[in-house]
Amino acid sequence: MTSLFLLQLLNGVQLGVLLFLIAAGLTLVFGIMDFVNLAHGVIYMVGAYLVVMFAGLTGSYGLALALTLPATLAIGLVLEALIFRRLYDRPHLDQVLATFGLVMVVTELVKIIWGQSPLSVLPPDALSGSVPLVGALRYPVFRLVVIAAGLAVAVGLWLVITRTRIGMQLRAGASNRAMVGALGVDIGRLFTVIFAFGAMLAGFAGAMVAPILSVDPGMGESVLILAFVVIVIGGIGSVKGAFAGALLVGIVDTLGRSFGPIILRAVMEPSAAAQTGRVLAPMLVYVLMAAILAARPQGLFGARP
């Protein structure tokens, strides 16, 4: 039981780290530019497809990952220049509608290029085994790599935001955009950088999970909604909040799915417990969100409601 718990806890952390990579880009764009980007999830999906394609072409996952990062960065730059840039001053509703249109376009393009059926890619040989953790418990190396990579990005992002000049501009831009512009910071360029960087983070997340999950045209949507939940829980614009929210959502979701039925079995018969658990588990994170919002409408680390 303890080893199962540890195993699921690690899976939860891994989902959380992944959600953080998505939510970080989303919340930077939200918090600083006040821009709603529903299309963030499809960039994660495109990252996964690109890594599969590049791995097929080069025969190496590592090389494919190295190609996917600049590719998603470029996609972010192009989308920013073509579409997002024109929407900064528009109402949220316009941003929602345009990026919703973009979701439709990208999803269909992916279906046209790569087909409807799920694709998969193998992790590199060196990372494909599993290592012993505690006692008889083993854990796949690649999942540990995903966790490590996600945590490394989180630390790196924290350093950039708290210790660098561009991070300073980011934080200032989040609290008062107009003032930062008046002080001589090129706001337009700052926005472009954040957008492209956010897209690359999402692409990175997609590329990292491609060997673990199946790559299909629906993968971006479920993650996008979960990333929204993460941001709502953590508080819009707060990267710290996104990190805490992502880990919380990842762990609660994973543990709820595996232990919900076990806990329910204590109060009802096994088959009913399994059924009820299956129905309730996916709702758990939304219940969590509702509970946190009822107490703190601005989220855990949010400044404004």
């Binding site: 949220h92 393009l109 279906k111 819009i236 299956r278 939304y286 509702a290």
Partner: protein, 314 residues
């Protein structure tokens, strides 16, 4: 009566008259499929009407209204499975279930504003979606096929596509009149006031929250009625009714017809669905073109889609 009210009355006669004549046109052109499509349009028009009530008049952008379509549809499926086939019972259950879900999620969502509200309504709809996906007793992901349509007074009149169509049209007209009455009432004016300036509404002694929540609940209940019609039309219910794409399409319909214009919502739903049907004639990948059109219109029309229809609307 102002000229604007006159114009609106004429437009209403034109739209509903056109809908009433449609089965005759279908009979003349020998294209019964037209009635099937039109029934779907009527159902989505009800949902768009309901969404416009809170979006247009209350300023609440719900990005999760597809959940209520699903709740209404599942009310039909679940009651039918239990042997209750009466349309009245289906409608009653749909309205109660939709209102309850709206009451609980609305009370939480309305603690927030703007973009938070959009994301939270989206998240709650997704919660409902996953609930029905994992409900294996009702087919889970695959959904359930209904044995028969709802009965009226024990008769299977709705089995005839045209009867179902006129029943849906009668409901749409009724709901439209209801929404016109709501928006024209003191309640509707407080709602609009709360959209424009919640602080001032509070200062003159109203609690905006109560009015907004009431409107949200009414909107959810009306959308659930649309779900009952959709389920009957397709004789099939699945979680795909609640897909967040559908919530997005509902918002598109409202914006397309002009925000805060009830007839516009009906026209927007009609336009959007006709465009879908038409594009689907050419390619399975119609969403590609639909999405691209949406982006272009938002980018190049100053006030979003509504800008294209300036002069009408409010």
């Amino acid at each position: 009566m102002t000229r604007w009210l006159m114009r609106r009355r004429v437009a209403a006669w034109l739209i509903f008259g056109g809908f009433a004549a449609l089965p005759l046109i279908a009979a003349m052109t020998g294209d019964p499929y037209l009635v099937v499509v039109a029934t779907r349009i009527l159902a989505f028009a009800m949902a768009a009407l309901a969404l416009d009530l809170i979006l247009g008049y209350g300023g609440m952008v719900s990005f999760g209204h597809a959940a209520y379509l699903g709740i209404g549809a599942y009310a039909v499926a679940i009651l039918s499975r239990a042997g209750i086939t009466d349309l009245g019972a289906h409608l009653g259950a749909a309205v109660v279930a939709g209102a309850l879900f709206a009451l609980v999620t609305g009370a939480i969502s309305l603690r927030t504003r703007g973009i938070y509200f959009i994301m939270i309504t989206l998240a709650f709809a997704q919660m409902a979606y996953f609930f029905f996906v994992s409900l294996s007793a009702y087919g889970g992901d695959d959904g359930v096929t209904l044995a028969a349509r709802s009965t009226v007074l024990g008769q299977d009149w709705l089995h005839d596509d045209r009867v179902l169509y006129y029943a849906a049209l009668a409901m749409l007209v009724g709901l439209y009149l209801l929404c016109v009455a709501i928006t024209g009432s003191r309640f509707g004016r407080v709602l609009t006031g709360a959209r424009e300036n919640p602080l001032r509404m509070q200062a003159v002694g109203f609690t905006p929250f109560r009015f907004q929540l009431t409107a949200f609940v009414i909107s959810g209940a009306i959308t659930a009625i649309a779900g009952v019609i959709l389920a009957n039309q397709a004789s099939f219910v699945s979680p795909s009714y609640m897909n967040w794409h559908r919530s997005g399409e509902l918002v598109v319909m409202v914006v397309l017809g002009g925000i805060g214009n009830l007839l516009g919502a009906i026209a927007g739903a009609t336009l959007a669905l006709l465009l879908e049907e038409w594009l689907a004639l050419f390619t399975d990948h119609w969403r590609l073109i639909f999405g691209a059109l949406l982006i272009l219109v938002v980018l190049y029309s100053r006030d979003g889609l509504t800008g294209l229809f300036k002069g009408r609307g409010k």
